[in-house]
């Protein structure tokens, strides 16, 4: 009897320690990255790093503006492509598709979300890059294809399954009764979707989009393989870009050989972490705040 209780108490304590460690992992991530970033922060002000576009590690200049704008553009354009496609797909699956089709398509979307990033990159290199190059030609612009647009397209395809899945779940959770109420008044199905279902699912869909955004910001490998990686602010869709995650991924080899380089690169990881965490927190806040207004 005593040994059972003893085991129980040991287990409980041990499990508690593990749980607390999990919670501390976030803190450890931020702290570790910050600790390593301090050297470069001591040599230049944070604002200087953020807003200067001069990136010359050999001269000790670590302005990250080009990378921040690269991330910004590629993510925004990817979202512009991905959100309508994802939402339309989610609406189709939850409101219009026959049940057999739905049961067939949903697992496929799941599969799509599980495909490794590097495989997306391979397909991006083989298909998207040449296509964008040809597209640029038709506009009279020369582009190797390794461009902002290619990065955005690959990112959009990667974000779609996630946003679609989550939005679909949210839409199917809308109670059936309000759909019937709208239809009984003589509304078409689309009017019901537009004015009633989407209205009810507003918060959840917004949260899904923001989470998709957060994941797109952090996506590294696939984008890196098609985006060109030139450290300058892109001026058109066909220009190469250099998103923030790609910075660290591309340059870790030389990290230790140039002074402050490793610190700057790890600072970029810290900035990335901060951005993603902010988006996550923001979307949680949206969900909580709008929860109260739900009927």
């Amino acid at each position: 009897m005593d040994s059972r209780n003893f085991k129980e108490r040991i287990a409980k304590a041990g499990f508690l320690v593990m749980s607390v460690s999990c919670c501390l992992l976030v803190v450890a991530l931020a702290a570790g990255l910050y600790y390593k970033s301090r050297p470069v922060l001591q040599s230049q002000s944070f604002l200087q790093i953020l807003f200067s576009s001069e990136w010359s590690p050999l001269r000790g200049r670590f302005g990250m503006l080009a990378f921040l704008t690269g991330t910004f553009y590629v993510t925004i354009i990817a979202m512009i492509i991905s959100v309508p496609v994802s939402l339309l797909t989610a609406i189709y699956l939850s409101e219009y598709a026959p049940r057999s089709l739905r049961h067939f398509i949903l697992p496929l979307i799941d599969v799509l979300s599980g495909i490794p990033s590097v495989v997306y990159g391979v397909c991006g290199v083989l298909v998207v890059v040449p296509a964008v190059s040809r597209l640029a030609e038709s506009f009279g612009v020369y582009s190797s294809g390794y461009s902002l647009l290619s990065g955005a397209i690959v990112l959009a395809v990667m974000a779609c399954p996630y946003i679609t899945n989550v939005s679909h779940e949210i839409l199917t959770a809308v109670p059936h009764g309000i759909r019937e109420a709208s239809l009984s008044l003589g509304a078409t199905k689309w009017q019901t979707v537009k004015y009633v279902v989407l209205r009810r699912a507003r918060a959840g869909v917004l949260a899904a989009i923001m989470l998709g955004f957060a994941r797109a910001i952090g996506e590294t490998i696939a984008v890196l393989m098609v985006v060109g990686n030139v450290a300058a602010i892109p001026r058109s869709l066909f220009d190469p870009a250099y998103p923030l995650p790609a910075l660290l991924a591309n340059n870790y080899g030389e990290m230790m050989s140039i002074p402050l380089y490793d610190s700057a690169l790890l600072l970029s990881a810290l900035i990335l972490l901060a951005m993603v965490l902010c988006f996550n927190l923001f979307s949680k806040a949206v969900l909580i705040l709008t929860q109260d207004q739900k009927p």
Binding site: L29, L112, L248
Partner: protein
Amino acid sequence: MKLTGISIRKLEEDVFKVLMRLATSIVIGSLVLIIGIVAIKGYSSLNIDMLTQTPKGGYYLGKSGGILNAIVGSLYVGLGATLLAMMISLPVVLYVNVFVGPRSLIARIVRFTIDLLWGVPSIVYGAFGFILMLFLGMRASLGAAIITVAFLELPVMVRAMDEVVRMVPVEIAEASYGLGATRLETAFKVIVRQTMPGLITAVLIAFGRGIGDTASVLFTAGFTDRIPTSLGDPAATLPLAIFFQLGTPYPAVQGRAYAAAAVLTLIVLSVSIASRLISRYFARNTVE
């Protein structure tokens, strides 16, 4: 007036119906395209030698040999990391659901932080693993990769396990306590048995995520033509093999990249299908 009113509504609906079908086709089409490309490119590069030999000759110039180093490396990293993650995830999930109430403060904090961790990009985990590596004096090796990927898999696994365990009706646990069992015994003998299929699925999902990731092992695994024989040896993984070898001008090396892509995709797809089949098979037998 009524007639025109109706046709505007119907027209709008028809337009959107077309757009919706188009959107869905784009999504499915991209899946078909991806699988197709991997299959076509992989088909021409895959043969028995590719799967059973390590690269021979100089690394980027190697004209013969295969991707065995990457296959074995991936399996070692994937299995090791998943095991490590499991040893932490299961206790944490059981603690949160069985030992303390799901409404308690610690439970909410754990779920909150796991949610945050879930969204952290894998390259950040890679950077953290790198820092840890330097701190502990480790080189880029199998061991470092396993630890880093375990960090990556942890939130995925915890979330998936938690979803299953929290759905167990509280009456089942209460029945067990009523018979005099301790929480520990209830956790392992009752809850785990009840949720085993879901837990297995969670492990598979995390495994798939870990084995397919590149950014987390980019700095922490090293890369080598050889199969690692100890935790301190550098290791190659399939994603790294693809990433490093795709851009070379040597077709033989490129071929290895495509073969690796095919093998990796196959592994990930099999894991995904297996986890589906498991949940579906066991869902038949559960009573609501």
